[in-house]
């Protein structure tokens, strides 16, 4: 079994605390994505699991065994690096087989495994080339091949797609997902790209400042963010945030800066305390007004278009609301021109509320 259990992990570089106390339990076979902004500690965490960094405090268990003091080679993990880290003086074949050779596998075994890994990744014809004669995408496949061929307990990925161009990145993302379906080994994947996180993960671990902000399934984090940070991190374009204040009572709701009160369902309002809040509205929860009457739970916004960003099927329209800007995701042909008047319906049932000071979801 190759589950990973991390308890109370801390990693300091001198006075700098990169990882401030992480508890994480990854079941066998799961695809876990560590995601977060630069400096959040995700790469450091990955490297401690690999054994490339020592830990200051805490334990790491792989398959039930505590591996804190084990050398990387003894942990039976494989890693794919951001810059591919292919051995430049070796052919692709030797690159892939390097780990097996270092562990003294019989030659025939190595050859067989290398062929199989290469076939799986479609790099069979490249086996005798040198890394410098390969494209970025091909190199990345070789790096993955080198990891697969060892049949390790765990795969670690350290931002493997960051150096590829956008088109290639989309293709490789699909390949990695398919790989996981086929092999089923536990995979831990680090990225700063929230799209990669959303599309690849069984579970997302969103990190910030050396701690876990929230973990759960992608849809979990997307639809029920625990903090404002999580809500703003996932989803493109970003969730819109409006500053407001809770006003209780029969005419209660969220009062915005310009005095407008957005009505909330009584059940929801009752759970809130008086005080400043942040209202989060996703662009896709806004649409052109439909019909004369405003549907229950919706709010009508009368405003003008400030900016338009067409992306093909959809267009992102920036509009004003209570002195702040909102971005709405609309159908491409549903929008007028810049400066035109527009009426939008906002689905407040799906909106999130966050405490203005702590950022926690309410």
């Amino acid at each position: 079994m190759a589950e990973v259990t991390i308890t109370g992990l801390k990693k300091n570089y001198g006075a700098y605390q990169a990882v401030k106390g992480i508890d994480l339990a990854i079941p066998d076979g799961e695809f876990t994505v560590l995601v977060g902004p630069s400096g959040c500690g995700k790469s450091t965490l990955l490297r401690t699991i690999a054994g490339l960094e020592d830990i200051t405090e805490g334990t790491i268990e792989i398959g039930g065994e505590t591996v804190n003091d084990m050398r990387p080679r003894d942990r039976d993990v494989a890693m794919v690096f951001q810059d591919y880290a292919l051995y430049p003086h070796m052919s692709v074949r030797r690159n892939i087989g390097f780990g097996l050779k270092a562990r003294k596998f019989p030659k025939a075994d190595i050859a067989r495994r290398v062929e199989r890994a290469a076939a799986m990744l479609g790099i069979g014809p490249l086996l005798d080339r040198l890394p410098r004669h390969l494209s970025g995408g091909q190199r990345q496949r070789v790096a993955i091949g080198r990891a697969i061929v060892r049949d390790p307990q765990i795969f670690l990925f350290d931002e493997p797609l960051s150096n590829l161009d956008a088109q290639l990145r989309d293709d490789m993302r699909g390949e990695i997902k398919r790989l996981h379906l086929e092999i089923g080994t536990t995979m831990i994947y680090v990225t700063h790209d929230q799209i990669e996180a959303m599309t690849l993960a069984d579970r997302i671990v969103l990190m910030r400042d050396g701690r876990i902000e929230q973990q759960g399934s992608p849809l979990d984090l997307f639809e029920r963010p625990a903090t404002r940070f999580v809500a703003g991190f996932l989803g493109s374009p970003k969730m819109n945030f409006l500053d407001g204040e809770v006003v209780r009572g029969p005419e209660g709701g969220i009062r915005l800066a310009d005095g407008t009160v957005l009505r909330l369902a009584p059940a929801r309002l009752d759970a809130l305390r008086q005080g400043p809040v942040v209202l989060g509205i996703r662009p896709e929860h806004m649409s052109r007004a439909a019909g004369e009457a405003v549907r229950p739970g919706f709010v009508r916004l009368d405003t003008t278009v400030d900016l338009l960003q067409p992306t093909g099927a959809r267009t992102y329209a920036t509009v004003g609301c209570a002195g702040q800007s909102l971005v709405a995701e609309l159908q491409a042909h549903d929008v007028g021109e810049v400066g035109a008047h527009i009426v939008l319906d906002i689905d407040l049932r799906r909106a999130s509320l966050f405490d203005a000071t702590s950022g926690k979801a309410l």
Binding site: A78, M79, A85, Y87, A102, R146, R150, L156
Partner: protein, 289 residues
């Protein structure tokens, strides 16, 4: 220790009047200096093939009418120049190899792990500036007790020590600019730290190691002071043979020149081959020429 590295020495094409002197002045300066460099070399070469009668000729003979190689044979055999040459070769090669082994290992450790921090680095660096005269006497006494005086091995050891700083520092800079992800990949793949060092880092650093070895060899080949004091009739090196020509009474000019020509050829050729790395070698890796 890193200084913002100089870019490769492709000379910069500047506008017209930049540094004063103008084309003629520059050409003159360069030409004069080339002359300055070449004159002694030429004179030594010519003297080495002059028959002895030409020595005292006035005006001086610029090229002998009847060149001879007799001085070379005399220098190599009568004056035991060949023995000196062989000893120099053995000692220089031995010290170079040892220096490369120990120095590469240390440089890697300093570069990748920051072993010993600033203090260790500074200590090794400062060895470069230690005047030989400060340690030659105690080393002489030490070797006397260990029966290492006048042995090639004794000289190899001391030469290794005095070429270590340059080797370590050149390779330190070299390893620093190699991305560690290759060795990390090797570690995760199944290498021990030693295997990652020996099978991945060292082959990739081969050009730097070769350059360091060239400079170490040249330093050993041209060294005089330690050889003078620590060797005698058995292990004497090529530079020490020139002692025999001190206070010449004339007859030895040919031999002295012949031996000089023989001595300078290997180190000069090596130096020219390693030209690309010269700036790095001269500044202990602080600057990439």
């Amino acid at each position: 220790m890193t200084v913002p590295s100089a870019r490769p020495p492709r000379p910069v094409r500047r506008g017209r009047r930049r540094f004063g002197a103008g084309k003629l002045g520059r050409g003159l300066l360069i030409g004069l200096f080339i002359l300055f460099v070449l004159v002694p070399l030429y004179w030594v070469f010519v003297t080495s093939i002059k028959p002895s009668e030409d020595y005292l000729a006035v005006p001086p003979v610029w090229f002998p009418a009847a060149p001879t190689l007799g001085h070379y044979t005399a220098a190599l055999f009568a004056y035991r120049g060949l023995d000196g040459l062989i000893n120099s070769l053995v000692v220089s090669t031995g010290a170079t190899i040892l220096s490369a082994l120990f120095g590469t290992a240390m440089a890697y450790s300093l570069a990748r792990f920051g072993t010993g921090g600033q203090h260790l680095s500074f200590w090794v660096l400062s060895q470069r500036f230690l005047p030989p005269v400060a340690i030659v006497l105690p080393v002489f006494l030490l070797y006397r007790n260990l029966h290492l005086n006048d042995t090639r091995f004794g000289l190899v050891l001391i030469y290794t020590v005095f070429t270590l700083p340059v080797t370590v520092w050149m390779l330190f800079a070299y390893f620093r600019q190699m991305p560690p992800s290759l060795e990390e990949a090797a570690l995760v793949d199944g290498c021990s730290r030693w295997q990652a060092f020996w099978s991945i880092a060292v082959p990739l650093a081969a050009p730097g190691i070769a350059a360091a070895m060239v400079f170490a060899f040249i330093a050993c080949w041209t060294e005089f002071f330690f050889a003078l004091i620590l060797t005698g009739r058995n292990a004497f090196t090529l530079p020490t043979v020139f002692r025999a020509f001190l206070g010449f009474q004339g007859a030895q000019y040919g031999e002295a020149s012949a031996l000089a020509v023989v001595s300078l050829l290997p180190s000069t050729v090596l130096g020219m081959l390693a030209q690309k790395h010269l700036v790095r070698g001269l500044t202990l890796g602080a600057v990439r020429g």
